[in-house]
Every structure is written in C-alpha cells, then in structure tokens.
C-alpha cells in the first residue's frame, strides 16, 4: 500500500452505469468497498476484484480495478490462483450466499483452510436473485420461494459457523445499509493477513425484501444487534443498558441493573483469542433469542498461505547443501554415460 497518495472513493468507480435494481443493498456495499479501499490508500492498479455468478458478481464491472467475472461457485478457486500467481495484488472476492455456499461450498471452505490472503465479501440475501427467486442455502427453514412454494424443508447454513468450522482466522459481519460499520470491517479485513470473511446482511428488494428487517430497521437495530469491538464490554441497546454474560456454557442477554447484573458482569470481547468456541457462540447468536453480532467477531494472527510457503522455502534452503546450479545438476540420481 502506498502511503503517499491521496485517494478518493471515486478513484475506484468505473465509468459503467451500475445495473442493480433500484433499492438493492448491493449499491451500498459497492460504496463501502470503494471507500474502504480509498482509506486503505491502496492504488486501483494494485487491486483485483474476483467474482463468481449472481447479482453481486456484477461487482468487478463497477470497480476501476482489475476485475474477473468468473464461474458460478468458483470465484474462491480463481481468486486463489490470482493471489498465489501474483502475491503483490490485493485480492477481493465478491460472492453471494448461493455462489459461495451452495455450488461453491467446497472451494469456500478450502480457501479458508489454506488461509490465502484474500478478502471475501459475502453478500447474504438468503435468495437466488439473478435467477429470479429460488431459495438459497441460507434461506430459513420454511422459507417460501418459487422452488419451495410450500416452504423449504432444509436447515440453512450460518456463514459464520461454516467459516469458523473451516478454521477461519477472520470473520466479521455487517449490514448493507450500515455504511460506516461496513467500511470499518472491510478495512480490518483487508489489513488481516490470510483469508478474511465479511458477511454482509443484504436486502434483495425484489425477491426477498426486508429479509433482515427485523434486526436491521432503525427502530429495533440497537436492541436486536450488538456491534462488537475488541477489548470492549459487549453492551448493546438504545440506552446501552443491555449486555452479554455467560450462563453455564451459553451466552445470555441481560439488562444491567436488573436481576443483580452489573457492568462488571458483562463479557469483554476478545476477537484475538485463538480459541474459537466463544467466537462461534457470538457468530451464531440470532434474533429473537439474542442480538445478532456485528463487527469483527474473530481476528487472529496466523500464517497466511504465502507466509507459510516463504517460510518453508527458507527452511529447506537452510537445510540443503546445494548452493549453486552445478551442485543442483549433480545432486540426486546422477550417472555418467560412457
């Protein structure tokens, strides 16, 4: 990243007119990504945006960066190829719940397991929008759609649980219309070395309107979501009078000053703990039982794929007694033809 330049988010805008439905959450996510990139002072030519197939995957057309509109479900694999072939690029993968978690589920978990330094922005609108309204792997059980007119009979994935199960070292969640929070978590994701997963709760205004509204609307969001900050007490609510405590093995939401709970009892968020169990509990919190966690849930320093490769090269080089090309040619199974 260059420290010298002054960048505006418009430097990341392409000259193509954006073709998402009016009111689609994707517009706000595009803004957030462009603003995060400007803040990060990364130059457009240092960035590659890789997408699969779906509404969100039109993203590369609207970015004044390198772009790659690839195959349904395969963006994680293509992005992996881009990053390992050219590690100098800042690689962002744009994907949706269908692209990443249905057809691309395999590549998604293996990208995370390898910990390749890619920022994955996962648009979760719980529907297939581009093909006009079939249920997706994050649609809630009983969800009615064109391919489930009587409700789905399948349980959905929770993207956070899946990512953490694949040993994700960085998982954050934001909401399409929470621009400030989105910019903040995207910057954190970009700074993280290794695969970063950012789940964006996104509204599909045509085929699944208001799917996240119960927790994201202005009136209720303070009481139904909690924005986590590393090292800070996990408090929430319009009056900041609610908090999270541990009740046995489970998380419980309490009101400070009621039932004998004081601010002292409220848990402090440790995003950097290597142990995943608390992060999994936080990622799985769901309304109405608990507030939905937003912000950086897990951010743990570990070796990225690139770093591991470099480290291995150094180790092997240190152990070998081959120091020249001639020695290499003469090493191993060598014989003379007479």
């Amino acid at each position: 990243m260059s420290e010298h330049c002054e960048l505006k988010y418009t430097d990341f805008k392409s000259d193509l007119s954006v073709r998402w439905c009016p009111g689609c959450g994707d517009h706000a996510i595009l803004n957030a990504v462009q603003k995060a990139m400007a803040n990060l002072k990364v130059l457009p030519h240092e960035v590659a945006v890789i997408s699969g197939i779906g509404c969100s995957s039109r993203f590369p057309y609207y970015m004044n960066t390198y772009g790659f509109h690839t195959i349904h479900g395969r963006a994680a694999a293509v992005a992996s190829g881009v990053k390992v072939a050219n590690p100098n690029l800042h690689v962002w993968q744009i994907t949706g719940d269908g692209d990443a978690l249905a057809i691309g589920g395999n590549h998604f978990i293996h990208l995370i397991r390898r910990n390749i330094d890619i920022n994955v922005i996962l648009f979760n609108n719980q529907i297939y929008g581009l093909t006009k309204g079939q249920y997706s792997p994050t649609s809630k059980r009983g969800f009615i759609s064109k391919t489930s007119p009587f409700g789905t009979v399948e349980d959905p994935f929770r993207p956070g649980e899946l990512a953490l199960g694949a040993r994700s070292q960085f998982f954050a969640r934001t909401v399409d219309k929470e621009l400030k929070l989105s910019i903040e978590v995207m910057q954190e994701a970009a700074k993280h070395k290794g695969t970063s997963i950012v789940e964006v709760l996104q509204n599909c205004v045509i085929y699944n309107d208001k799917t996240h509204e119960a927790i994201t609307d202005k009136k209720h969001k303070a009481d139904r979501t909690i924005v986590l900050h590393h090292g800070e007490k996990m408090v929430f609510g319009a009056n900041k009078d609610k908090g999270l405590v541990l009740d046995g093995m489970d998380i419980k939401a309490v009101t400070i000053g009621e039932d004998g709970y004081t601010l002292e009892d409220i848990l402090v968020h440790d995003a950097e703990s290597y142990h995943v169990s608390m992060h999994r509990k936080l990622a799985n919190m769901d309304y109405p039982e608990l507030p939905v966690a937003l912000g950086v849930i897990r951010s743990v320093e570990g070796l990225s794929y690139d770093q591991s490769v470099e480290l291995q090269l150094k180790e092997v080089q240190a152990q070998t007694n081959i120091s020249s090309f001639e020695e290499l040619v003469n090493a191993g199974d060598v014989w003379e033809v007479k």
């Binding site: 349904h72 479900g73 093909t131 079939q134 391919t147 489930s148 007119p149 009587f150």
Partner: protein, 360 residues
C-alpha cells in the same frame, strides 16, 4: 383423454415428467430453464404420484443424485442450461460407463463460458459426440415444439431403459420459453418396486438370499476386460443407430435443395421454405429428431436427388460436420447460422441458400 393446455416448453417438460410416472427430479436454478423445477415444485407431485423433486446445491450434485436414483432402477431426470450441463459431463460419462438410464434436458443458451441467456444450438457437439471422456454416446432428441418437449420425456425414459443409457433432450431457450398449445398425456402410475425388481435385475433393490451381488461401477482395472466392455457398449450403439433414427421430411419430394435443421432452427426454416418456394426455389427440409443416432441413410438418399444442402443451426457450424460425413462429398453442403444468442430470420436463411448453395 389427452388434455389441451397452453404453456411454455419448460413447463411442458415438468408436466410430462409427472404424467409419465417419473420417480424423481433433481435440479439447480439457471436461466432459461428454471421454470422446469419451479413448475414441478408448484405441482407438488410428491403428494399425487410420489415423485421426488429436490433443489440441489449445484448441477454436479443434481447429476450425481440422478446417478444414485438411476442406480435404483428409478426413472429420474434433471434439467439445466448449457453452463450447468457442462458441469454434468463427469456424471454423464459415469452413468454411460455404468450403463444406467436417465434423462437430461438441456435448454441451450449461447456460449462459450457464461455466454448469454438467449437461445443457441451450440451444444450439439457436446451432446452427440459424448461430452465427457471415453467412448460413449448420449441418445439425443431435439424437440422443435412445446408438444415435442412434452412427448419426448416419456420417449426418452423408454429409450434410456431400453438401452440402459442416458438420453439427452437437446432443446434451446426459444423452445423452452415459448408458449404453445400442448396436449398432455393422461397420468400413468410410477413403476412399482416389484416391477423394477422383475424387469431391471441390475437395479439396487437390496440383496436377497441367493441373489448375486450387484455392484454398480464403471471401473475395470484389467484393460482386456475394459476392452470387452467397450465392445459391448459399441455393439449397443450400433443397435441404437440401426433402430432409433427419427426424423421428419418436409416438402422433400420435389426438392432441388434441402435445409437440414433441428429444434428452433427447423421452425424458422419452415417459414424459409415458404419464402423460397414463393420465389420459385424448390426447397425442402430434413429435420433430424434424433441427433444421435443421426439420420445418415436418409441424407444419403436425399443426396441422390438434390443439388445441395444447407445445414441451418444456431451455432458456428456443428451439425454441418455430420451432414458432410453422411453425404460424403456427393453434393455441396454448407452451413448457415447466427450464434451467441442471436437467432436468424427466415429471410436470412433463404439469402444464405441463394448465396452459398444456388449461387455456385
């Protein structure tokens, strides 16, 4: 009593599958064929006939669910459009290698890659030459109307079980999306387990005392055994080529020239024939209904009569190779077609006939 309805080609596939007693459908949304699964879901056949309908996580999952269902001797199908059918090629070669029957519907769109969502016929090679690895064939039927979309579902199952081989219904975005009147067959019951057990000994039904162990596989590590198996497959394909060629001849009796066209191109060419004949050009059409097996003998006969043939396809020229192979240089054979999602007009086809064939 056949029931008269107005519907899209994609919807006709769904209704015909339920009515002919299919046991299962597995699919994944893709334009321009998502109505197949949507119609099946809306019709709730699991409550009427007991047919299973499942939205898979990908086309790879769909074809492998078909592989599993077919292994049980059930009549199972999937549908998709070009990019999705490319994903299914691995499953198809294993199905053919395991000699299992199933039906695949490809509502073709323009390629290569993600291409467009508009109609094309550029998956001809993939369908009739195998598509996946190894020496195998898919019996390929090309519907040219919504009626044929409906009629070919049961026919495909019949052929699939007769030859224990996958059957492809090669349609396109135009036939899938257009609405026409269609006569639907009466509801037929699904096969009972007893019927399957008696008629399809290879099916996975559970091993009873004294039964031979049956393992479905397509691997033979002994190359000579694998060669023997390939000979058996090839003998089956020769039988298919002998018995199952289907085609339609339109105004060929007095023709000096013919169009060779299938599916939506054949529909366009019907109008082209009218235009050309009004101009005094005696042109007819051979419409292959089975693309594999291809109507080779019929084309050879027509080559004795006509002065030239124009293969009209929504592709850069694929079927034209098979027409040339059949005709073997007897008369000039040229190709005409728009592609990448653009359809030719009847007038353009006549112009191409005049320039490429008559003009010579």
């Amino acid at each position: 009593m056949r029931e008269l309805k107005l519907m899209k080609g994609n919807e006709a596939i769904a209704h015909a599958a339920i009515r002919c007693g299919a046991d299962g459908y597995f699919g994944y949304p893709i334009t321009p064929q998502s109505e197949v699964m949507e119609t099946l879901m809306a019709e709730r056949p699991w409550e009427s006939t007991g047919m299973v309908v499942l939205q898979a996580e990908s086309e790879i999952a769909s074809i492998n669910m078909v592989y599993g269902g077919a292994g049980c001797g059930k009549r199972v199908l999937t549908s998709s459009s070009s990019p999705g059918v490319s994903l299914m090629q691995e499953g198809l070669t294993y199905l053919a290698g395991s000699e299992l029957p199933c039906v695949i519907v490809n509502v073709v769109r323009g390629g290569p890659g993600l291409g467009t969502i508009q109609p094309a016929q550029s998956d001809y090679f993939q369908s009739v030459k195998g598509g996946g690895h190894g020496d195998y064939k898919l019996i390929t039927l090309a519907p040219a109307s919504v009626q044929e979309m409906a009629d070919f579902v049961e026919l495909s199952f019949d052929l699939a079980f007769k030859y224990r081989n996958p059957v492809m219904i090669l349609s396109d975005g135009a036939i899938g999306q257009m609405m026409e009147k269609v006569e639907l067959d009466e509801f037929k019951p699904r096969w009972t387990d007893e019927y399957i057990e008696q008629n399809h000994k290879w099916a996975t039904m559970g091993k009873k005392k004294g039964d031979e162990r049956s393992v479905i596989t397509s691997v033979q590590l002994d190359a000579s055994v694998q060669e023997d198996f390939n000979h058996k497959l090839q003998a089956k394909y020769r039988e298919v080529e002998e018995n199952e060629v289907r085609f339609e001849k339109i105004m060929c009796d007095d023709a000096d020239y013919i169009f060779v066209a299938y599916g939506s191109s054949a529909r366009i060419c019907q109008k082209s024939i009218e235009i050309a004949r009004a101009k005094g050009i005696k042109v007819g059409m051979l419409r292959p209904i089975t693309l594999y097996p291809f109507p080779v003998k019929e084309l050879q006969e027509l080559a004795k009569q006509v002065k030239g043939m124009l293969s009209v396809e929504l592709s850069a020229g694929q079927m034209v190779e098979d027409v040339r192979l059949a005709v073997n240089g007897k008369v000039p054979v040229e190709h005409y077609g728009r592609f990448g999602g653009i359809m030719h007009s009847p007038g353009e086809v006549v112009e191409a006939l005049e320039q490429k064939i008559i003009g010579e």
